[in-house]
Chain length 391, copies 2
């Protein structure tokens, strides 16, 4: 299996974007091409979840290739719900690793704010089980609410712990010019005062407003290639060293213990094994905090902390910038934003910036090993990636 490297990266602001989806998808691709110094690519993967429904567009990948004047390069759209981005990176990995293609451009893009937030929430809810969940009005926030309640009961996580995730990730987003939400929040403002209950209203008990990620538009791009080609880009060499993926039952209630995220555990274990690194080797990680509880639980399931102890590590500041293992330095889905198909590629973008030493004020000192966890469905299809700086 041929080794796979990152030659170029690009990203848009995650925000509300009033451009056609194809242009949103193409923009960071142009940045990534410039960043890599490459002019020609052999294949394009576009990660997107909802364009057929929300943007009235299919064949998005063909549109992107045309917009970028990259014809006759082949192209596909890859959809795996909120994990579409990392799934597209995995596809890019296989394309290069197999030897079929030498230079593969992976761009994730979504334009959800073409519709209102309720329609966007409904569009995302179509990834739940159609007969056992969706028709009963289940949405992602409602699943996250029930999940949070179970986790609180079992492990003593409190609403204050959830708020700590939000505060930390908003702090990080203040240092990220591409983040959706540049708003400093405090524990006092969102949990520790009587006004907090007004500032931070209930969404799906016990989940409050500041426990949820925003609905974002945006796109991010990675160019994957061989070592030889990547070396010519002049950037520090970053290798996509590990790729892991696992699925779990479609309906959450089918799981023996719904507080166990087996797909996260399985995908992370594979991504670490392939890369030959341990969770304790990771210097910086992006976890899929669509809801604050998920950052805590994923930090346990991927192996950074023992099961049930993620909130304690958070409390001790271990996941902050400057902590033992900074998590979501980009601001995470919580504050950087969550343009669904772009999210997984955006996570990888942050890690590559960190490993290259290009993360500015949010740089993790001498980061050498990075990790991403992109969470599809409500944990029914998870993709984890391990990146390693060489040299």
């Amino acid at each position: 299996m041929r080794e796979v490297y990152v030659a170029g990266i690009g990203i848009t602001s995650f925000t509300r974007l009033e451009y056609p989806l194809v242009e949103i998808a193409a923009y960071p691709a142009m940045m990534a091409l410039q960043d890599s110094g490459l002019k020609k690519v052999d294949h394009v993967f576009v990660a997107n979840m909802a364009s057929g429904r929300i943007n009235h567009q299919t064949g998005l990948a063909s549109a992107v290739v045309d917009n970028l004047s990259l014809t006759p390069a082949g192209a596909e759209t890859i959809e795996n719900g909120p994990a579409s981005g990392a799934s597209a990176i995995k596809a890019g990995f296989m394309a290069v690793a197999s030897g079929l293609h030498d230079v593969v451009l992976v761009t994730g893009a979504e334009r959800l704010r073409e519709v209102n937030n309720l329609d966007a929430t409904d569009a995302v809810a179509t990834l739940t089980h159609p007969l056992a969940e969706y028709i009963y009005g289940v949405t992602l926030p409602s699943l996250a609410g029930m999940f949070t309640r179970l986790y609180m009961k079992k492990y003593g996580v409190t609403s204050r712990h959830l708020a700590m995730v939000a505060v930390k990730n908003h702090d990080n987003a203040m240092l990220n010019p591409f983040a959706h939400i540049h708003q400093k929040i405090t524990l006092e403002g969102i949990i520790d005062s009587p006004e907090a209950m007004t500032n931070n209203p209930m969404v799906a008990d016990p989940i409050r407003f500041f426990d949820c990620c925003p609905v974002s538009d945006g796109a991010a791009c990675l160019i994957l290639t061989t070592k030889e080609v990547a070396q010519k880009s002049g950037h520090p060499l970053v290798r996509l060293a590990g790729v892991g993926q696992a699925t779990d039952t479609h309906a959450v209630h089918d799981r023996e213990d719904p507080t166990e995220l087996l797909a996260v555990r399985g995908a992370a274990a594979q991504a670490f094994k392939m890369a030959g690194v341990k969770p304790s080797d990771v210097d910086v990680a992006e976890l899929h905090d669509a809801f604050t509880i998920l950052e805590i639980v994923e930090s346990e399931e991927v192996g950074f902390f023992k099961k049930g102890e993620g909130h304690l590590a958070l409390e001790r500041g271990e996941t902050r910038l400057g902590g033992r293992i900074p998590i979501n330095t980009s601001g995470g889905l919580k504050a950087k934003g969550h343009p669904v198909g772009a999210t997984g590629v955006g996570q990888a973008h942050e890690i590559v910036q960190q490993l290259r030493g290009e993360a500015g004020k949010r740089q993790v000192k001498d980061a050498k090993t990075g990790f991403t966890c992109n969470f599809g469905g409500f944990g029914n299809n998870v993709v984890c990636l391990t990146f390693v700086r060489e040299g």
Copy 2:
């Protein structure tokens, strides 16, 4: 690059199917698993175009894995318009060729008839250029109409030639129990008589009713794996020997000469080169006859006949069962049906049946080399595959 083989196949009838989409997708997968003797797969690719819009379902691949009890195997949905099926096969090829996965299940599925034909036509039209085509009311039949007119003018193709494609493919479909349309038609009935103009009304001048494929539901599945695993299935060994793909401009009017299908030419050339075979080596082919004109033009662009001479070869009976190079023995999209995401996998299913010698009354004697052309967009993203029987 590791060689890739077909271990199992399965298909539903292409017709109107009143089942949930996930069950439609899973059904041929169960047939393919049984056909292969395998119980475990490492990864699943689902080809689908329109589920987000038409069936109110995303994350279809995760749903299929769950339905088949194949968790924790990873899974993605692959979308490339009408070429989604062959694109998913290409993804499966890369997964096995790279060594990342040993057994990959590729199932293509679509349930278009959940909505009426006009809505289905509109859903498919969303693959056209959103700003240069779609907003002006362009649909696939209208593009095919304009394309046919140009081709008639340039090469002398007549409405009677188009009708010959329809008659041949309806004849073939009569021999295929899984085909959508089991209706014998004649040149007299659809073109050569005064009544024909009533039987076969104009759809998009010069394209008539019997020049268009039906709107179908259906699914088809292929299991791709290594030689070692495939050998255990007990079937004649069929290798996926060549994979080619090329894109062209998104808007058809951007092409220097719209009668040249450069993406077909490019994709076919790659698929032949990788397999080390020539067009003249092909014993049986499935071409993408969503409209009758396309079978004629693709038969030229892939290299079976000289440019502008496909209709003459058709006239001579060379593409009939028993002819020099039988095309669309399955009935083609025209009469077997066109459940968009399933179509490319269905084409491969037919070729594997032919190469195994399992095609019953439509068997091409001693077929050893087979070829498929899956046409995405209006020729803006084309995937061709070459299959070879070994031993």
